[in-house]
C-alpha cells in the first residue's frame, strides 16, 4: 500500500480537475472527495492534522494521540457524506469526530467512572508537573477538573482550540445558544473557584 501510494503522498492528490488551491475551502474539497475522487480528502487532512493532533494530545496525552489520529481520519473519511457543505471550515466537524474517537478510547479504559472522566487525569498530571512552580496553574487545573464535563468541553474548545462558541456548538452537536451559556457558566464557575482561598489539600494533591 505504501509503495503504491507514495507518489500521491509525496505530491499530494494533484490530478486534472482536482481542487487543490489553498483558496478552495474545505466544503468544496469534501464534496469533490465524494464525486469519484476520494483522494481529495487528503488535502483536508493536511490542513488540519496538527490542530487535531494537538487536541488529542491535550485531552488524552501524546502517546494516545499518536495512536488515535489515524482513526480520526478514517472515521472522518467514512462520515464525509454527512458533512454540511455550508460549513466552509471543516475544523469544528473534525473536532467532533476526534471527540467521538476519544470517548470510545476512554470507554476502553479500566476506569469506568464516567462521572469523573478519566481522560483528563493523565494529561492534567503531566501539565501540573510541567508547570510545577506555577501555583496559579495548579489552581486552574484543579478548578478545571471540577467543572462539569459539558461546560469544560466548551471552555477548552474555545480556549485551547481557538474555536468560536458557534463552532464549538458544531463540534458538540448542540445549539449555539447552549454552547454560549455553557461557556458563560464555565467562566463564572472558574472565576468563583479561583477567587476562593486556595484549598491546600486539593491544590497540592
Amino acid at each position: 500500500m505504501t509503495g503504491l501510494m507514495s507518489a500521491w503522498q509525496r505530491d499530494g492528490p494533484r490530478r486534472d480537475g482536482l481542487l487543490q488551491s489553498a483558496d478552495v475551502r474545505d466544503g468544496p474539497l469534501i464534496a469533490q472527495s465524494l464525486r469519484g475522487t476520494p483522494e481529495a480528502f487528503v488535502e483536508i487532512v493536511r490542513r488540519h492534522e496538527v490542530a487535531i493532533h494537538g487536541y488529542l494530545t491535550r485531552r488524552a496525552g501524546p502517546g494516545a494521540a499518536d495512536d488515535l489520529l489515524g482513526e480520526v481520519w478514517v472515521r472522518a473519511f467514512g462520515a464525509r457524506h454527512r458533512y454540511d457543505p455550508s460549513h466552509e471550515d471543516a475544523r469544528p466537524w473534525l473536532y467532533g469526530i476526534a471527540r467521538n474517537v476519544l470517548r470510545a478510547h476512554w470507554r476502553t479504559g479500566q476506569n469506568m467512572d464516567l462521572a469523573l472522566p478519566e481522560e483528563v487525569l493523565d494529561p492534567w498530571d503531566e501539565i501540573t508537573d510541567r508547570l510545577d512552580s506555577a501555583m496559579r496553574a495548579r489552581a486552574l487545573v484543579s478548578a478545571l477538573r471540577q467543572l462539569p464535563a459539558p461546560e469544560r468541553d466548551v471552555l477548552l474548545l474555545v480556549a485551547w482550540e481557538q474555536l468560536t462558541p458557534a463552532e464549538a456548538a458544531i463540534t458538540l452537536s448542540i445549539p449555539p445558544g447552549t454552547a454560549r451559556s455553557r461557556l458563560h457558566r464555565a467562566r463564572t464557575t472558574l472565576r468563583e473557584m479561583l477567587a476562593e482561598p486556595a484549598d491546600e489539600t486539593e491544590v497540592r494533591k
Binding site: V45, R58, D66, L69, A137
Partner: protein, 86 residues
C-alpha cells in the same frame, strides 16, 4: 488570568497549560497511511461499481423485450390461451 472579561478570550495561564509540542512528522505520515488504506478501499469499490453498469447495459435489449411482452396484454392473453406447452 482575567476571567471577568469576555474579550480576553484566552486567559494566559489557561492558554499556557494547553501548550503541547507539535507532532513528529512520522506520526502525521503514519496517520495518513491509515487514511490511504481507506481511500484505496473506496477507490477499488468505485472501480467495481463502474464495471457493473456496463454489464447491466449489455443485458438491456433482452430485458426490454421481456418488459414489452409483459406489458402487452394481447400477447399475454395469447400465451395464456396457448397453454403451458406452447
Amino acid at each position: 488570568m482575567n476571567l471577568h472579561s469576555e474579550d480576553s478570550e484566552v486567559p494566559d495561564v489557561l492558554s499556557a497549560i494547553g501548550q503541547v509540542n507539535p507532532p513528529a512528522s512520522h506520526v502525521l505520515e503514519n496517520a495518513r497511511d491509515v487514511l490511504w488504506s481507506a481511500i484505496a478501499e473506496e477507490m477499488l469499490s468505485n472501480a467495481e461499481d463502474r464495471l457493473r453498469p456496463a454489464e447491466f447495459e449489455a443485458d438491456q435489449p433482452e430485458r426490454a423485450a421481456r418488459q414489452r411482452r409483459a406489458n402487452n396484454p394481447q400477447q399475454a392473453q395469447r400465451r395464456r390461451n396457448a397453454g403451458p406447452g406452447a
